[in-house]
Symmetry: C2
Subunit: 338 residues, 2 copies
């Protein structure tokens, strides 16, 4: 089997990898219908996050169950399933609390950019669609594995409510789906911070009512201006840099909420500044497993179409070009078909 392997900065190869098989009785083996490149894959791709050795890549996936281990009860061969980027048992206290990405048994899925995938803890991790979906629903169902669930968690963690004013920092796929999530929850006003025309366009399509192109101090000033000096009720931080985090904190009204889902890289928060900002801060690796049933339903009933974030579709063997296009911001997000 051939799949994606990162060898070093900007050196992504499509090459021979070991064929996955059932190792533990709780495993399932999937034939991947679609996988994709995540914004977070770009951290190691760009060399910002070091890798110690050639590393298989990919953590977003959906597909058909081919085989299950002897202990698997809730999914079976032939079903179309979607799973979280973190495998979880869905039975431990953290899972019960809705934080499956902090599962006591969690395992990061790291080999999904391939035709065949082993998923640990299959019963806890995978959720089956009502049936094998029509092909045009596959991109949207794929987003539920990470990017859409992450945008949804950002909105949930930021406390978005019907009628509220929301700002979204970051116009990557997560930010754009944060806009869609806020719209779906019923936000009255959604301010997308973006400088890129194609992304602004998609943000508007997903429900953004205002576009702010400024960043840093100017971006904060513009949000304040748009909210009568008050700040946004909820801010979705979908980047993970010091600048984006501070922009989020300073754009939020006292008592408002920030949902932060961009994996922080070098972020340090000043305790005193945070204290006097009076914001609620919540985030982390999105527990997308919690949202899968609800979001599968919304996609299945064609109420949301998060698959629109894929503006580049490639055969899996061109995965290297998929990374390049995202790295150079030529594409928002690349979908890969084995």
């Amino acid at each position: 089997m051939r799949g994606a392997v990162l060898h070093g900065p900007k050196d992504l190869r499509f090459e021979e990898r070991e064929m996955p098989s059932v190792i533990k009785p709780t495993d399932a083996i999937l034939r991947i219908s679609a996988t994709c490149v995540c914004g977070s894959d770009l951290w190691p791709y760009r060399g910002i996050q070091k890798i110690a050795q050639p590393t298989p890549m990919g953590h977003e996936y959906c597909g058909i169950v081919e085989k299950v281990g002897s202990a698997v009860r809730t999914v079976k061969p032939g079903q179309f399933v979607i799973g979280s980027f973190f495998a979880s048992d869905n039975t431990c206290p953290h899972c019960h609390a809705g934080y499956q990405t902090s599962c006591q048994q969690r395992e990061f899925v790291t080999t999904a950019q391939a035709p065949i995938l082993r998923v640990p803890l299959a019963d806890g991790t995978l959720v089956a669609a009502p049936e094998v979906p029509p092909d045009d629903l596959v991109p949207s169902l794929l987003t539920l594995s990470d990017v859409m669930g992450t945008g949804w968690f950002a909105a949930d963690a930021a406390g978005v409510k019907p009628g509220s004013t929301v700002a979204v920092v970051g116009d990557g796929a997560v930010g754009l789906l944060g806009v869609l999530s806020a719209k779906q929850i019923g936000a009255g006003r959604i301010i997308a911070m973006s400088r890129h025309e194609s992304r602004q366009k998609l943000a508007k399509e997903f429900g953004a009512t205002d576009i702010v192109t400024e960043r840093g101090d100017d971006g904060v000033a513009r949000i304040k201006e748009l909210t009568k000096g008050i700040g946004a009720d909820s801010v979705l931080e979908c980047v993970g840099t010091q600048e984006s985090m501070m922009q989020a904190i300073r754009s939020t009204r006292p008592g408002g909420g920030i949902g932060y889902v961009g994996v922080p890289h070098g972020v340090e928060l000043d305790g005193e500044q945070l204290f006097f900002s009076h914001v609620h801060l919540h985030g982390g690796p999105a527990p997308v497993r919690r949202y899968l049933p609800e979001l599968i339903n919304l996609v299945w009933e064609r109420k949301i179409n998060p698959g629109k974030v894929f503006d580049l579709v490639l055969p899996l063997d061109q995965v290297a070009e998929g990374y390049r296009a995202m790295d150079e911001r030529r594409a928002i997000k690349t979908l890969l078909r084995p």
Copy 2:
């Protein structure tokens, strides 16, 4: 009039100060029934927070209205009132959201350790008791001006719910009243972190079910041990140091909440660590004005007795000894009677 003036580290004097008078039509003048020394007064007293010049002190107060400005409508001379340590108009959007300590017109009250006090924005800041209280209720009513409201906010911000498991970091007056607040809200288990026998005793009286004497890594390990490895549902951070903040974050279960009310001094939070902790973080200067009506009622009906935190009562002219006793941890909190 004589009142407290800080001249430099450990140099607190009781000396002549200007007699307050109505300056703005929204002011009220109070004859102080009782005032006290706050844990946060110790930061400048110890020289950790610098002062530029001799500085009048005190921000916790209750007393009888003597005079009001021409625009004051809701309080009148002869009433016994309690106010927040931040004056607020209670009409701006931040006040309406319940964050009166972020009021667009907020003014810090800084001269309360004196017999007479000017309170700005009297209508928004002061809440009258049903009548002039019996003397034994005055200490508890005084705590509502800051320390009890702050403990209550810590519990509220940490999301304490009936039945939940709560840990309290800090055994100063705020931490102890955080214990009382968690108990009043109905927490099922309350773990107080304290090494001092007299404070442990009061914590238990206020509702603590467990005492943890360890700090840092050992303290976190002990909380985990007491909660079957899960962590506390809610943690109240009532100190404001790097160590106490990290202890709080690491003691909280994923998805749990931290209410932090200790003014942070030199605290830096690592974004990545916070991200993977999955905690909710909320805090800041407590909007005690929000809670005043409810808490006055609880004290009035003798359902809570937060005034027990005062283990030293002095005449106001001995205010310097009041500071010394708290600085040397001989007293939890000093009440001063003019």
